[in-house]
Amino acid sequence: MLGWMFTDEPWSPSRRFLYLGAAWGVLAVLHELAASLHLVFPGIFGDVSWLSYGRLMATARDLWIFGFCSNLLLAALLAIVPSTVREPLWGVRLANLAFWLWNLAELLAWWDLLRGISRGRLWGEAPPSVDLLRLAAALVVLGSLVRTVRAGKRGDPVAWLGTGSVTGLVVVLVLGKGLFTPGGNPYWGIMDALAQAFFRQGLGWLWLFGAASAVALSFTGGRLNAGNGNSSLALVVLVTTAAFAPFSTGSEFIWGPVPFWTQTVGAVASVLLLIPVASTAAGVWRALEGQWARLSESPGLAFFPVGSVAFLFGALGSGLASLLGPARIAGLTLWTEARTALLLGAGAGSVALGAAYVLIPAAIGRMLISPRLAWWHFWAWTGGWFLAVGALLLAGLVQGAVWATGTVPFGHGANAVAPYLATRAIALGLVALGQVAFCWNLFLTADSGIEVPAGERDLVLAV
């Protein structure tokens, strides 16, 4: 049993992270769909405590970030870092240990959050025991990646960016959740509000965006022969994300009850985050230039431009909403949810899925059994997020306009956004269908896909 759990088969950590990432992805979107149905049909789930809106939303977000996106991005990082530095992954058994720790934490978080056991924070709600398991897993992965990079035969900024994003995850977990005092939350008052915002911003930018950028630049660069150019862009992404993301915290509180200087610093940093996002998008689009036809050969590759565009619009929306004028209208409205959907849903999610599809032949050792089903997944996913983000953006503008009148009661504005919330629920239904199709395709591939010869598995990721 222990031999199976901690096997030293080189592809085992990536394969396992890939399988569970896909499974958590279905659960995450079903939870979010259930929560969104609450807003369309109030009282739909009766008086069942674990199906209440607040608990479902907290669980959905945790499953999405730590279960779905993180598992798939970790699967990709454990593959691309060794591939880019041309050195086998150091400590495969340790990487498998990280897999078990990470997913045990996710299982506990799922169970705890639905039962109402939480830290009471908006995003980072899982109890400290779960956070400590996650921290241990992240440290193990970080150690494994750092040793691999140091032993590597060539330095590569993509590998540094990937390793840097895991470092970012460790920093965000420790500082954002105050894990340096495991006995409880060390932050009080506005310090806690800023720490929570740091956790949200850091998780999105330092971890998910950093990892997604490394994966997108590596996979598009490697597959489409634009490796060197993308390496220099990876360096730009690494430096600018590390420099600006930690300071974007105050941008969540424009006009709010935090010191004005934190708002100003947050707004400037939020606008400057367009640099790494635009660099990633430029890398992906430059790699695709003149080879757009190749996208039709691979649904996996098609996810990368979608992800990079979503990140670009998400960063643009965040930068815009952190300016004093637009913040008066857009602040605290559903526009905020639209930005989150762009960055974490369509952005990080698309890159994570693209990585999963590209990884399948190498990690599982079988060719994807149904590219047709993968294309269905792609269109349901892309269409779903386009619809959801569009509906939330419009809903946010309607809310902002109603509040700005100073005469229309809040309830009227809330009723005015009902059609948009219904559209979001339909859109999430589409995304959920796509995720189920992905899981089914993955299951069929693992069960009866055509085997890839052992010697060719590494070539899939050749950079």
Binding site: I117, G120, W188, I190, P259, T333
Partner: protein, 155 residues
């Protein structure tokens, strides 16, 4: 001249650190925390508020442009703009980031009858016009009353 140029980043850093200590860190320290503390019942109510994820839909921050101007039911009833010290006694805070329901920073000033709030939490669908508020009838009577007490304390 060179020395001045070299000391500029240091001055910026010291100023930023001093600003952080004075405006963020000091107000968060127990010694200078606002005297207002939560009683046992309010603490239980706040725990229910956090556990049930009320902050997923409700904020507790009135921003400067909407202070004394924002509307929940009547013009200006959103209350005054929130201040830094309003949160000094909280761990964790629940400012929220999005309003699907109205802001609750001054809800105790808008709703004066605790029974009305209790009815709203138990049977929100009976309100006219019906909103999107989910029912919290699954909470025990003690939990509901603690939650109502906490909400009524927000003024």
């Amino acid at each position: 001249m060179q020395t001045r140029a070299a000391s500029l980043p240091l001055m910026c850093l010291v100023t930023a650190l001093a600003g952080f200590v004075v405006t963020v860190l000091l107000p968060a320290l127990p010694l200078v925390r606002a005297p207002r503390t939560l009683t046992e019942e309010l603490r239980r109510g706040y725990a229910v508020y956090l556990r049930e994820g009320c902050a997923q839909c409700h904020t507790q921050q009135v921003r400067i442009p909407e202070g004394r101007f924002g509307v929940v039911a009547r013009s200006g009833d959103l209350g005054e703009a929130s201040r830094l010290g309003d949160y000094a006694h909280l761990n964790p805070t629940a400012l929220g980031t999005v309003r699907i329901g109205p802001d609750l920073a001054r809800v105790g000033s808008r709703i004066t009858d605790p029974e009305e709030l209790l009815r709203l939490l138990r049977e929100p669908h009976r309100r006219t016009p019906p909103g999107r508020m989910p029912s919290y009838a699954y909470l025990s009577d003690a939990e509901l009353r603690a939650l109502v007490a906490y909400l009524m304390s927000l003024k």
